[in-house]
Symmetry: C2
């Protein structure tokens, strides 16, 4: 089966590649800003493009509930609806449905749940999840998966993971648009053997890419990295690998180091709104009194719009004054930091110096 992924270069397990969607070619490893409700919070699409973002993530669950996938389809899909010039990956909705566990009921057929907005009874089968994502005009769709709580009993993990496999097979069969990519999601809890078996099961079905799901759910970092390492040797090297919902800048570096190609996380935008800025030297809490008079940009080595034009003192003033521009400027900076970090990792792999890049990355932070 043909792969949308081209591996250009490796450094140990780390991979420099290109991922083709029907919209364009994405340079990997890549970070995908999260646009939950048809907008990356507080950021215009033009700002995203200007900072080099090539693909964003949309949330099927949220868009299914509001404004509805049929409405978005009538507008030509999410890209046209929200004025985004780039590729779009949509999650399946599984994670959100399971996050609202008390409102959800899982059966062989699919997930029955209630809208968190108005309590309306809703149902999403694996087939529905694919058709909703097709209606959204997604370029990369995700299979509907079940999420396993952490910690969980082995029996529950096995049953849940096997259901994810059966749902994945139904998702593959349900696809009607063959220019869209469909990724399988490897589950298996924190059990390495189960993870490997599940990866093999999904490979047996055959997908355009493979995601590692169910991580960053409360486990410690070592467990998370161990699960990535368990999956890595099993996943086909010529297909893209996506670590879902992860994570900190450190997580991105360690993920790439272990062969991950794609990431998404709300952290850069959510932290931005809470006044936490990412810098090469670590986190900067902008409300702190030490920045009251500070004329320097948030990160002196950063070339983002925010750092080119605004001082820490001004950003602190906006934050303490609860001005909307605070969310805008902080979000631009943090997303730029994430996107730029990926660009630097790509370059380091290309130039065969990813080990020293990684050492420098940690060195700059500890020097703070």
């Amino acid at each position: 089966m043909p792969s949308p992924f081209t591996l250009l270069k490796t450094f140990g397990a780390a991979r420099r590649g290109q991922l083709r969607t029907r919209y364009g070619v994405i340079q990997t490893p890549v970070f995908m800003p999260v646009g939950t409700q048809a907008t990356v919070k507080a950021v215009t699409p033009e700002s995203l493009s200007a900072m080099g973002a090539e693909i964003i993530l949309g949330n099927t669950y949220h868009l299914f509930i509001r404004p509805g996938h049929e409405l978005i389809a009538r507008f030509g899909g999410l890209r046209q609806f929200m004025n985004w010039q780039g590729s779009i990956l949509t999650d399946s909705g599984g994670f959100q449905i399971f996050s609202l566990r008390e409102l959800a009921k899982i059966s062989e057929d699919g997930a029955a749940f209630r809208s968190h907005l108005d309590g309306a009874k809703l149902f999403l089968s694996p087939e529905d999840a694919v058709h909703v994502q097709e209606a959204l005009g997604s370029d990369i769709m995700m299979c509907l998966d079940t999420c396993i709580p952490f910690p969980a009993e082995e029996k529950e993990i096995i049953a849940s993971t096997n259901l994810t496999t059966r749902w994945a097979r139904r998702c593959r069969a349900a696809q009607t648009q063959d220019d869209r990519l469909l990724f399988g999601i490897v589950q298996g809890g924190m059990d390495a053997a189960l993870r490997m078996q599940h990866a093999r099961d999904l490979i047996g079905i055959g997908f355009d890419g493979y995601a590692i799901g169910g991580l960053s759910v409360g486990e410690d970092k070592e467990q998370m990295l161990a699960m990535i390492e368990a999956c890595s040797p099993v996943l086909p090297s010529d297909f893209p690998r996506y670590l879902m919902g992860v994570g900190t800048p450190e997580d991105l570096v360690e993920g790439v180091w272990r062969g991950i190609d794609m990431f998404d996380c709300v952290m850069p935008t959510r932290n931005a709104r809470n006044g936490c800025l990412f810098t090469k030297r670590g986190k900067l809490i902008i409300k702190n009194g030490q920045y009251r008079d500070d004329p320097r940009p948030a990160d002196e080595s950063c070339g983002c719009y925010t750092c080119r034009h605004y001082s820490r003192a001004y950003l602190r003033h906006l934050y303490t004054s609860r001005e909307i521009l605070s969310y805008q400027l902080n979000s631009i900076h943090n997303l730029h930091y994430y996107v730029q970090l990926m660009a630097e990792m790509r370059q380091a792999i290309e130039e065969d110096r990813f080990a020293s890049f990684r050492a420098d990355f940690y060195g700059a932070r500890s020097g703070n």
Copy 2:
């Protein structure tokens, strides 16, 4: 005394002119977006420039309290602090102090008041008001005035207006930077004779421009227009005239019709955040269900960033989802509407067709 204003053309009482500040030349009649806390809410300075805004208003009261004028002075003034490429007018703080009446105490010396943030005791004399505005790097400063409640007793109006005159004289004497412009503020309540007398008193002191204050405080439209008409013949035609805190699009048209050159109002940005969009055909309440599927831009005749890229359906989705981008896009549209309305009025005066412009303006609205 030299005037910063050049009158280019008139149409009846309406005036097409240019106002020179130390920063640049402003085309009048002009609308000044309000940037209360060193930011026009939810809009970047680049967006303001892109829509043609040439001057914004900063609030002395708010900036005095947070982050403080000394801090802003250390950054080279408000323009540098907030990254604005244009002129800045600052109000005197009088209006805000009087809006917090129960926290304020007026004496011959000045206004004693408490910070609305932390209750700290503060004092602002007329001299302080000028020096704070100088520290803020204002291009056009306003005299500290007393605001008269509406309705008020004649005795109170007279006493308050006379105090404003004495304060205005002290403001003029306190000015240390002669490249800044200083405007006097005509008070006088809703009494035409008092307004005219006060205007003459201020002209006697001599200012770089004259504002009409104390309107849009609850009086009806006819009273407001009558007060403008009372001041107009008294104010020197070769100096700029500024109607403070006004108003609706209709108010701008009627103000220009009666010879006003400058306006400011929070209405475009505040209404934007409440989902009320200004259009040539009147107000559009974006949350209304009729816009759920509407693929048209907010205003089909508008060339703003928002209208070029986003549908009413998308704007409605953002608003109902309480997304920050809703504030951003709505604010851009409404400010563009105001700035564009002024540009159209300037052109209509230049082309000697302001009467038909005014008729068309109302015609488009009644046709909605």
